[in-house]
C-alpha cells in the first residue's frame, strides 16, 4: 500500500450461497480523492462497502484502510464515516439526542460534541427541526441526519452509499456542495451512486463494477476516450451491457 493510498483492496471475493456478489475485486483509492463507485443493481457495490467497513467478512482477499487491516476494526471505524444503504434510526430520539448518542460512542467530550452537533445540523439544514422526534422526519430529512452522523467524528474518509437518495433537487445540491467543501478540506470521499450525472460532476476517478468484477477504473475523461463515448452514462451502459451480453 502506497503512502498516498487510503483504501487498498486486493483480490476481494464474497459469495452469498451460490451467488458471487464480489469476484476478485482489486482497486485503490488515493488520499483526498472524490472516488466514484458505480455499478448496476446487484453489482456488488453495497457488499464491497460493507466489507470495507468490516460489517461483513470477505471470503478471500485483503482490505487495507489507511494502513489498518480488517482485524483493526476499531482503528478503521475511528477514521471512517459511513452512510450505509440501510438507514434505520431510533425514531423516538430527537436529532440532537441521536447525534449525542453517536458522539458519546466515539468518546467525544460532551461540550465539544454539543458544538459539533449544532454545526452539523446547520450544515445539513436540520437546525430548526433538531428537537423534533426522528419518527416525524421525512425521508430526505432522515437522509441528511444520517449524513450528519457520518461526520460526527471528523472522518478522514467518507464512504457514502447513495447519499442523495430521497432528497429533493435543492437538497441534492446542498449535499453535493457540502461534500465538495469537505473534499476540498482534504476528506477522501468514496461515493457510490446510481445518479451518473451526479458522479460525473463530483467524482474523479471513477470505478465501475458489474457482476462483482471491476470493469473499468479511471477519470471520466479516460473512460470516455477508452470507450469512445460522449458521457459517463454512455460509458456505464457500454461497459455494463457488454458484461451482461
Amino acid at each position: 500500500m502506497s503512502i498516498n493510498e487510503i483504501i487498498s483492496i486486493k483480490g476481494l471475493s464474497k459469495s452469498y450461497g451460490s451467488t458471487r456478489a464480489v469476484d476478485n475485486l482489486s482497486l485503490s483509492v488515493g488520499k483526498g480523492e472524490f472516488f466514484g463507485f458505480l455499478g448496476p443493481n446487484g453489482a456488488g457495490k453495497t457488499t464491497t462497502i460493507r466489507m470495507i467497513s468490516g460489517i461483513i467478512k470477505p471470503d478471500s482477499g485483503k482490505i487495507t484502510v489507511s494502513g489498518f487491516t480488517e482485524n483493526q476494526k476499531e482503528e478503521i471505524t475511528r477514521l471512517l464515516g459511513i452512510l450505509p444503504e440501510s438507514r434505520g434510526f431510533y425514531d423516538w430520539m430527537t436529532a440532537t439526542e441521536y447525534l449525542s448518542f453517536f458522539a458519546a460512542l466515539y468518546r467525544i467530550p460532551e461540550k465539544q460534541a454539543d458544538k459539533k452537533i449544532i454545526q452539523l445540523l446547520e450544515q445539513v439544514d436540520l437546525l430548526k427541526s433538531k428537537e423534533k422526534k426522528i419518527g416525524t422526519y421525512s425521508r430526505g430529512m432522515k437522509q441528511r441526519l444520517g449524513l450528519a452522523r457520518t461526520l460526527i467524528n471528523d472522518p478522514q474518509l467518507l464512504i457514502l452509499d447513495e447519499p442523495t437518495l430521497g432528497l429533493d433537487p435543492q437538497g441534492q445540491v446542498d449535499i453535493q456542495n457540502l461534500l465538495m467543501r469537505l473534499n476540498s478540506q482534504g476528506v477522501t470521499i468514496f461515493y457510490s451512486s446510481h445518479l451518473l450525472h451526479e458522479v460525473s460532476k463530483l467524482c474523479s476517478p471513477v470505478a465501475i463494477i458489474n457482476q462483482g468484477r471491476l470493469v473499468a477504473q479511471g477519470t471520466c475523461q479516460e473512460l470516455m476516450e477508452k470507450t469512445k463515448s460522449q458521457s459517463l452514462a454512455d460509458v456505464f451502459l457500454t461497459l455494463t451491457q457488454t458484461q451482461h451480453d
Binding site: 464474497k14 452469498y16 450461497g17 460493507r50 467497513s53 460489517i55 461483513i56 467478512k57 476494526k73 476499531e74 471505524t77 475511528r78 471512517l80 459511513i82 450505509p84 440501510s86 438507514r87 434505520g88 434510526f89 431510533y90 423516538w92 430520539m93 439526542e97 448518542f101 453517536f102 458519546a104 460512542l105 466515539y106 444520517g146 452522523r149
Partner: protein, 256 residues
C-alpha cells in the same frame, strides 16, 4: 460504550412506553395477588408463610416472564429496525453492545423488584421474614433473570428475529416453569427428579420454600438450590459466547 447503550435502552423503554407498560402490569398483578391473599375467604386462611411463598412465586414468575419478553426484543430490534449497521459502524464492540443491553434488562428486573418491595414488606409484617424474603427474592431472581437473559440474547444473535427469539425463549421458560409449578401433581421418577434438580425455576421455588416456610435462611442451607442456578448462568454464558463467536464470523449483516 456500555453506559451509552444502557442509557439508550432505558430511555427507549420510557419513551416508547415499553418498560412502563410492563411495570404497570407487574404492579397490577402484585396488587391483585396481595388483595386476593388478604381478602379471599379460602386464601386468607392460609398460613402466613404459605401466603408469603405464594407471593414470592408470583413476584419471581412475573419478573422472569417480563424480562424474558423484553430481552427477546432488545437485541433483535436493532436488526429489525436496521439500526445495527449504523451502530456497529461506530467503534463499539459486540461485548459492549451485549453488556449494555444486559444491564438494561437487569435494570428492568430491578424496577420489578422495587415495585414488589412494598408488597413483600406488608405481607411479611408481624413475622421476621421480611428481610430474608427481600434478600432471597433479589438473589434468586437475579440469578434466574441473568441466566434467561443470556439465553435470550444468545438466541437473538442466532436468529436476529424478535418473533423467533420470543417464541423460543418462551418455550424454554415454559419447559422450566410448568414442572416447577405442577411438581406436586407430576409423577415422580428418576428423570423428573433429575430435571427438578437442574431446573432453575424449581430451584428458585424450592429455595424460597426453604427460606419462607422452613426458616432455613442461611446461604449454606440453600446452597443446593443456589448452585444449580449458578450453573444455569454459566450455561447461559457459554451459549452466549458461542452465539457471539458465530455472530462475529457471520458479520453484522447476515449473508443469507
Amino acid at each position: 460504550m456500555i453506559k451509552q447503550i444502557w442509557l439508550k435502552e432505558l430511555r427507549a423503554g420510557l419513551y416508547t412506553w415499553k418498560s412502563t407498560i410492563w411495570l404497570l402490569i407487574a404492579s397490577l398483578l402484585f396488587s391483585f395477588t396481595s388483595y386476593l391473599l388478604l381478602t379471599d375467604k379460602e386464601l386468607s386462611l392460609l398460613d402466613q408463610t404459605e401466603m408469603l411463598w405464594l407471593l414470592a412465586k408470583i413476584i419471581i414468575g412475573v419478573g422472569l416472564l417480563v424480562i424474558t419478553i423484553d430481552a427477546s426484543s432488545i437485541v433483535t430490534s436493532e436488526f429489525e429496525k436496521e439500526t445495527a449497521e449504523s451502530l456497529f459502524l461506530s467503534p463499539i464492540s459486540l461485548k459492549d453492545f451485549i453488556m449494555g443491553k444486559m444491564i438494561a434488562s437487569l435494570t428492568l428486573w430491578l424496577f420489578v423488584y422495587i415495585i414488589a418491595t412494598p408488597y413483600i414488606i406488608v405481607a411479611s409484617s408481624g413475622s421476621s421474614l421480611a428481610l430474608p424474603f427481600l434478600a432471597y427474592t433479589a438473589l434468586l431472581g437475579t440469578l434466574g433473570v441473568l441466566g434467561l437473559v443470556m439465553i435470550a440474547f444468545a438466541i437473538s444473535l442466532l436468529y436476529r428475529s424478535s418473533k423467533n427469539t420470543l417464541t423460543t425463549s418462551l418455550v424454554i421458560l415454559l419447559v422450566f416453569a410448568i414442572p416447577a409449578l405442577f411438581s406436586s401433581t407430576l409423577k415422580n421418577n428418576t428423570l423428573s427428579d433429575l430435571f427438578s434438580k437442574i431446573n432453575p425455576i424449581d430451584n428458585i421455588f424450592s429455595s424460597l420454600d426453604n427460606v419462607l416456610v422452613d426458616y432455613q435462611t442461611s446461604i449454606l442451607q440453600n446452597w443446593t438450590y443456589i448452585f444449580p442456578l449458578i450453573l444455569f448462568c454459566v450455561f447461559g454464558f457459554i451459549l452466549l459466547t458461542f452465539s457471539a463467536k458465530r455472530f462475529n464470523k457471520e458479520g453484522v449483516i447476515k449473508s443469507d
